[in-house]
């Protein structure tokens, strides 16, 4: 196959990747889009295999079969509540693969059709691809640990922010030294392995250090950011191999992750920088401490069930607590029973509810809640004032009316206006403050009733008393 033919096949694959993403504009076209993506990937792999037909194809196929089998197994088995961990793990693999390819390219540029010794331009691109890949890898490993709740086994995986004095200066220093080694690698006339290895090692370290100060509820931003990095790493490798398809695929993914990060930050009304610098929520208890004297009304699942049965409209606001308790199926059953009684039941989803973008939507879809009943925050907020009953399940900061009070730490954050509803039911495990470490005035309102307990248990009890 000539280089021209190869490039045209790669172009076809690139177009198919764009169509795959375009399909996600609606649930009805998304499955076809995914098929386009698979075809694109199939083309990319097959034509590349054709190029190396005289090489070690058997070994490559074996590696693909082993890797593919692992991937298929995990994809079938993973629970929807574990999706954030899975995505983090997959980011780390992309990052690691990018690093390995870069090392192989430094070792033997000839295999990639790149001049040996490496020209300066390619070195610069390899440098970028490698350090972004390395940061993606180690950062995603930490994110994975935090999301999988491995904090007890290994302290670096703690979901609480890990902060120490001078942290940002340390990171900055490491970053600068890393770039210094990168420049040394770039300027050396031959393969400067020492500089390359030092740079890669520091990049791995930096990945760990930039993720540990970021707390659990900021994970939607972190995971989107790592998604973006994995794309840029792929694009960087594409630059060094002069492969336009890799550049296109990497850039698509890079911009996707960047846009998701932006959407997540906007939904928390925080700047990207403030999330990345981390430490948010570390000062727990300061604001929550003043809660002592205020009283809350609490009720049982039966009370909640009674209130909902007598409503005309019910809006359910799910949060991370729903995912932790794996309550999505119970919630679906409850919603269905209420609907059968002629009550208008809808779901309202805040963009940062859960641990990754779209987390709640997937959980509800898994439980077979029709997506027509699931609304985004801005589409349902206007109707909150005329809603009879709102049921908040394991969400806190995203329904905190302090967001409307000047001077509060979350001032300006868009929230679901549940406090405007006629009756508010809040399910929580305890009165503990949310991630932001803030007390929530919603809980003390006259129209609010707290229903304490595990989300799944409470919803199941509600279902029982609906019978």
């Amino acid at each position: 196959m000539s280089a021209n033919q190869l490039t045209l096949w790669y172009l076809a694959a690139s177009v198919l990747f764009i169509l795959a993403l375009k399909g996600l504009s609606s649930p009805t076209t998304a499955r076809r889009g995914n098929l386009f993506g698979m075809i694109g990937m199939g083309i990319a792999v097959l034509v590349t295999l054709a190029v190396v037909a005289r090489g070690n194809v058997a070994g490559i196929l074996l590696a693909m079969v082993i890797g593919g089998a692992v991937g298929a197994f995990v994809a079938r088995r993973v629970e929807m509540t574990q999706m954030p961990e899975l995505v983090a793990a997959m980011h780390s693999l992309v990052g690691m693969a990018a690093v390995l390819i870069a090392v192989a390219a430094v070792n033997n540029p000839g295999a990639f059709g790149v001049a040996d010794p490496l020209p300066m331009g390619n070195k610069l691109e390899l440098f970028i691809g490698t350090f972004v890949g390395a940061i993606t890898f180690s950062g995603s490993v930490i994110a994975f640990g935090k999301l999988a709740g491995l904090g007890k086994t290994f302290r670096l995986f703690s979901s609480a922010p890990i902060v120490f004095p001078g942290q940002h200066w340390v990171n900055l220093a490491i970053g600068l030294v890393m770039i210094g080694f990168g420049v040394a690698f770039f300027l050396s006339p031959d393969e400067n392995w020492t500089a390359f290895i030092m740079m890669t090692g520091l990049a791995f370290m930096l990945g760990v250090l930039i993720i540990i100060p970021i707390g659990g509820a900021d994970m939607p931003v972190v995971i989107s950011m790592l998604n973006s990095y994995s794309g840029w790493a792929a694009a960087g490798i594409g630059f060094s191999l002069n492969n336009s398809m890799l550049i296109v695929a990497g850039s698509l993914v890079g911009s996707s992750g960047a846009i998701l990060s932006y959407i997540m930050c906007r939904a928390m009304n925080r700047s990207f920088i403030s999330v990345i610098l981390g430490g948010f929520g570390a000062a727990e208890g300061s604001a929550a401490g003043a809660a002592g004297e205020k009283t809350v009304k609490s009720g049982s699942a039966e009370d909640a069930s009674f209130l909902m049965q007598n409503a005309e409209s019910v809006v359910i606001v799910p949060g991370y607590g729903l995912a932790v308790a794996r309550a999505q199926h119970a919630v679906k059953e409850m919603a269905q029973m209420l609907r059968e009684k002629g009550i208008n039941v809808r779901f309202a989803i805040h963009p940062v509810a859960g641990r990754m973008p779209g987390h709640m939507n997937v959980l509800l879809a898994e439980a077979e809640v029709p997506y027509e009943q699931v609304f985004e925050m801005e589409d349902i907020n206007g109707e909150m004032g005329t809603t009879d009953v709102v049921l908040v399940l394991g969400a806190n900061d995203v329904v905190n009316p302090l967001a409307y009070e000047k001077g509060s730490p979350i001032y300006g954050m868009p929230i679901i206006d549940v406090h405007k509803a006629r009756t508010i039911l809040v399910n929580k495990r305890s009165m503990a403050a949310g991630y932001a470490g803030l007390d929530n005035p919603l809980f003390y309102m006259d129209r609010t009733m707290m229903v304490f307990g595990d989300a799944k248990k409470v919803v199941e009890d509600i279902v029982k008393s609906l019978h």
Partner: protein, 98 residues
């Protein structure tokens, strides 16, 4: 002005255009599908498997080809896992006919 265009310049052209395309396509993705978006982008960025294949291809086994094979394996986990888990999620979003 004259001569041929350096490949790096062409790469930059492709890169900038692809970022533009990405920007416009991604803003049209419905928020309900943001999780499948992440898993499918994961699968798509695993197209670096083509780089891994090139690294693994030379017949004489050395340090570089071994790394290449490992990279092929890692990327293959993502290719298969990414597309399949996306498909699984999207199947859940299918309209229920009842």
């Amino acid at each position: 002005m004259g001569g041929t265009v350096d490949p790096t310049v062409l790469n930059i052209v492709v890169f900038v255009l692809a970022v533009f395309v990405g920007y416009h396509v991604i803003w049209n993705v419905t928020p309900a599908l943001h999780t499948p978006l992440m898993s499918v982008t994961n699968a798509i960025s695993s197209v670096i498997i083509v780089g891994a294949i090139l690294a693994a291809a030379p017949m004489e086994t050395d340090f570089g080809t071994v790394l290449g094979l490992v990279a092929v394996g890692l990327a293959a986990v993502n290719v298969a896992g990414g597309f399949m888990v996306t498909q699984r999620m999207l199947d859940m979003f299918r309209k229920k006919q009842k």
